[in-house]
């Protein structure tokens, strides 16, 4: 050090970077990934591989050749998008549908808006919703492939718990065991399999201070209160709160997708408003909508009002 460095504040720096945050999210997703591969086997591995590989490849090709910007593949965000997209798909999805989902997620939802930090909507959810309305048959085919453990015995090819509840009301899901849902769900997208695996990821993210708990907890609380009220009024028509918390993409969505930095409000109170909105829309779709599950739609809808929430909940100026 032979010269004196004079620089404007801030002088404190943290080692945290986009790359380290995204790497933590990947690590937090690992339990869910492992569980899904164990129970769904090779086909799930193929989906995960195709999804992550095509997301990374598309990001590279688009930044390098179309936008001619510095390549942003190194920050792991495409890997996170790829993993989330794969975990949001049924394990029987053909690989070319996964690829189309990756094109929409990275190409349309992320890069068209200018890349990470400028996207209005969560890329993985845009990809999933696009596939859901484009390929309704393949995207709701919950046939359970042979996994490495657990499969075979209960070769369920039926609907998800939420799908059953939509079709046949509460009576159709009475026999389901909550412990099953907690450890491995009976049907659904790969990431919806095990509530425990997702919660482990949640705790890891909290401990590493990657996300703040406000959004996730307000979503879960809203869903519990909303379904609790309806269940208390009429338990024969409406499913109970615990069922609603454990089934579908609620945990995956509220932990990993609603908390996405770019597409969620900046302040804590903003996060609470955002979460309550997601919870209410989710439950409205589940109870009264045409689709059995509404988490992804709810997150997309609330994504679009994030700029308004940020306007209402900005930080107070110091001294006022």
């Amino acid at each position: 050090m032979d010269k004196l460095l004079v620089s404007p504040s801030p002088h404190l720096h943290t080692k945290t970077s986009t790359k380290s945050l995204m790497r933590d999210v990947v690590i937090a997703l690992l339990p869910a990934v492992v569980v899904s591969v164990l129970f769904y086997g090779w086909s799930e591995l193929l989906i995960l591989g195709v999804s992550v590989a095509s997301c990374v490849l598309l990001e590279y090709v688009i930044t390098r050749y179309l936008l001619k910007k510095p390549c942003s593949v190194g920050d792991f965000s495409a890997v996170v998008t790829g993993l989330l997209l794969a975990l949001n798909l049924p394990s029987t999805t053909p690989w070319w549908i996964v690829f189309i989902g990756a094109v929409v997620a990275i190409g349309v939802a992320k890069m068209t808006f200018g890349g990470l930090g400028q996207n209005l909507f969560n890329p993985a959810i845009v990809g999933r919703v696009f596939l859901l309305i484009s390929f309704p048959a393949q995207m709701t085919d919950w046939t359970r492939p042979q996994g490495f453990i657990g499969g075979g015995l209960d070769a369920l090819s039926g609907a998800t718990p939420l799908g059953l509840a939509k079709e046949g009301g509460v009576a159709a899901v009475e026999g389901l065991d909550y412990m099953d849902m907690l450890f491995y769900n009976i049907g659904g997208s790969a990431g919806e399999l095990s509530a425990i695996a997702l919660l482990i990821g949640f705790v890891y993210l909290l401990v590493r201070k990657v996300i703040r708990p406000y959004i996730t907890l307000s979503i879960l609380a809203t869903v519990a209160v909303f379904s609790g009220i309806f269940w208390a009024i009429d338990p024969t028509t409406y499913t109970d709160p615990l069922f609603n918390l454990l089934t579908g993409g609620l945990l995956l969505g509220s932990i990993f997708m609603a908390t996405d930095y770019v597409t969620s409000p900046m302040s804590n109170w903003g996060g609470v408003i955002f979460g309550v909105g997601i919870g209410i829309i989710t439950m409205l779709i589940r109870y009264f909508g045409a689709y059995p599950e509404g988490v992804s739609f709810a997150i997309l809808i609330m994504n679009s009002v994030v700029p308004l929430i940020n306007k209402v909940c900005h930080a107070k100026k110091y001294g006022r």
Partner: protein
């Protein structure tokens, strides 16, 4: 401006769909296939040419305060005429386009050309302007319809080249917005060199 330019400006420089972004409602709603898009464009072309001519003729006699209602009456007359003609000769297309045929009355492009061009120019020029803008609209809708049809149903002008369905979202509303957005990007890229 030469007579020929009156026609060509509607295709590229003042393309109603990709540059002026007028008439978005029929653009997004009727372009589920190339045929539908083209029919909608031709229907608008028909009304546009006739109403442009009529308005350029009667414009000097219309009091300024009531000119917009008067234009609407003129346009509505031609749209009603078009409705009867389509009902008689192409009932299938009339069924498919449905409400969007009577909605040509309030189409921004038709009213816009009446207000911005026809009431200041002669009959021949107004007719040529109507043809140019109408052709631009028809071409844009056909291209948009073709893109959505290829991606959404795997066919071109009704000729199917794959088995089964395509990417259904492109036949639905979200696909209309996506396809239009990317076509505008490509159009801008090609025309502003």
């Amino acid at each position: 401006m030469g007579k020929f330019q009156l026609i060509t400006k509607g295709l590229i420089k003042e393309n109603p769909t990709f540059v002026l972004l007028l008439g978005m409602c029929p653009t997004l709603a009727t372009t589920t296939s190339a045929i539908n898009g083209m029919s909608m464009g031709l229907a608008t072309l028909f009304v546009l040419v006739l109403s442009n001519m009529a308005i350029s003729l009667i414009a000097p006699y219309i009091p300024d305060k009531v000119r917009i209602p008067s234009y609407i009456v003129v346009i509505a007359t031609f749209v009603t005429l078009l409705q009867f003609v389509m009902q008689a000769y192409v009932p299938d297309i009339y069924e498919t386009l449905g409400l969007f045929i009577p909605l040509i009355v309030v189409n921004c492009i038709v009213l816009g050309r009446a207000e911005a061009f026809a009431n200041k120019n002669g009959v021949v020029d107004s007719a040529l302007d109507g043809i140019g803008i109408g052709l631009g609209f028809t071409l844009s809708l056909t291209v948009l319809g073709l893109v959505r049809e290829i991606l959404g149903s795997g066919s071109m002008f009704g000729w199917k080249f794959i088995e089964g369905d395509g990417i259904l979202a492109f036949v639905l509303a979200p696909g209309a917005f996506l396809a239009l957005g990317y076509l505008i990007v490509i159009f801008r890229k090609l025309t502003t060199k």
